[in-house]
Symmetry: C2
Subunit: 243 residues, 2 copies
DNA sequence: CGTACGGTTGACACGACTCAATGGCAGTGG
DNA sequence: CCACTGCCATTGAGTCGTGTCAACCGTACG
């Protein structure tokens, strides 16, 4: 049984992968794609609550999310935990290991997920051969940086309500990018996780969700989100540039 | 007169530069250094309040700070401004342009500064030739990401007092790295800038500074900071790992 | 069936923001 | 040289948003 699952979920190549337009292969030539595919290590799916890597682990690979969802958790010495990112299909994780060659985050699986492993040494070689791949990597890295900075503004200057609105708007956009409805989608993370990510107390988030429901902005039930009014949601964000 | 200043402030090569141990050249070979020096474009000093680049500008270069100080300001569509970083000598700026090839921040000079311009195209070529340089770049990029994530935790979970303590501790460390006292140093940014960076109202910061002074933790006067008790400062941070 | 955990709800407290007024300093122009 | 202007920094008073604490419910899981 186990091997069946493996076969079914692993076989797809980058070329066939429906995510290729979101993921690294964006805009690569045939030749580059071939070489990339040889480097990519497709792995068996990982179960919920498992660690993709831990804070302190040696940085060996990037990972491209193929299905499922993960979170990156940054932990301070005094045990305070902060979720610094949620990772959905098509996105690249592991960048936190670039600096010291050790990861500075825990990366935890939120729901059964499959990932493609991209060994950093092989990727480095490939980037040196193909400048377009090099640029693609830089673009992804740059996006991470820009998103983090956008998040800094969110946490520093926005009210709890604006934060939730911004979060829902972002999830909606990312759903659409993957070809899923931007108006109704599943959220793989718990309310606690969302609250943590947004720098709020779980209680505050709970009350806000209720308010969004009552005012007809969005409704969240059992990890399923329905955007009732994109207009009003976006009006609460005022920040939805940042493509 | 202008050309005198230019000569005096520009001539130094990477090799002679006292910052080389902080900056990009860290751990490069002779040959690599030679090539890097040819790529580096040393520029005339820039005056206070000038823009190194603006949000929306085409990303053409990285910049290494040689002297002075700068800030990166991220602005949302509704005009909200967030300082996402202060840049001191030895540090690299411009990474926010990596994603879209356009800068997403304004980079503003805080006090007369000189920078080295590193054209991104030339740097890219160089990175493809020398993997050690490639890795050095990645390390710097990774550091930026890790710092941003650490900042996310600060803004999401820490009290105003802890934020200020953390900020002072960070400045102290960075001063030491540059060979300046970690106990007494100048702060090139205004109180408003610090407050903005830390996600606080200027009034709150002002009161906190007073409190730090009264309780003998640190004293700030006229942009000069004196750490009175590193122990008590660090005790307030509990987060000063993250090298 | 019991335990644990995530989520909700209410009461309450307090940290940080807002508003308003004042003082200081630097740059500008008469 | 001094007045004028604007910005930064400070201080006080008052308010409000959000966190904290505690209790409770429902569901998942062993």
């Amino acid at each position: 049984m186990h091997s069946n699952i493996k076969l079914a979920e692993i076989q797809a190549s980058c070329r066939q992968c429906t995510l290729s337009e979101l993921c690294l292969p964006r805009g690569l030539t045939e030749e580059e794609l071939n070489d990339l595919e040889e480097v990519v290590d497709r792995q068996a799916p990982i179960d919920k609550n498992q660690y993709l890597y831990r804070n302190g682990d040696k940085f060996k690979s990037f990972f491209a999310v193929k299905s499922g969802a993960l979170k990156s958790v940054f932990t301070s010495v005094d045990g305070e935990e902060q979720i610094v990112g949620f990772h959905l299909p098509g996105e690249l994780v592991g960048l936190d290991g670039l600096n010291t060659k050790r990861h500075t985050c825990d990366c935890i699986v939120l729901e059964r997920s499959s990932v493609c492993e991209l060994p950093s040494i092989r990727m480095e070689e490939l980037c040196q051969r193909y400048s377009s791949l090099h640029r693609a990597m830089h673009s992804i890295i740059g996006k991470t940086i820009s998103e983090d900075q956008s998040m800094l503004l969110l946490l520093a200057r926005r009210s709890a309500e604006e934060r939730l609105a911004s979060f829902l708007s972002s999830l909606s956009q990312r759903s659409q990018l993957r070809g899923i409805s931007g108006s109704e989608f599943d959220m793989p993370m718990s309310m606690r996780d969302i609250a943590n990510y947004l720098g709020l107390a779980p209680e505050t988030l709970s009350r806000l969700v209720k308010k969004f429901d009552k005012t007809g902005v969005a409704s969240i039930d059992k990890r399923r989100a329905i955007i009732l009014s994109h207009d009003r949601l976006n009006a609460m964000v005022a920040d939805y540039k940042q493509r």
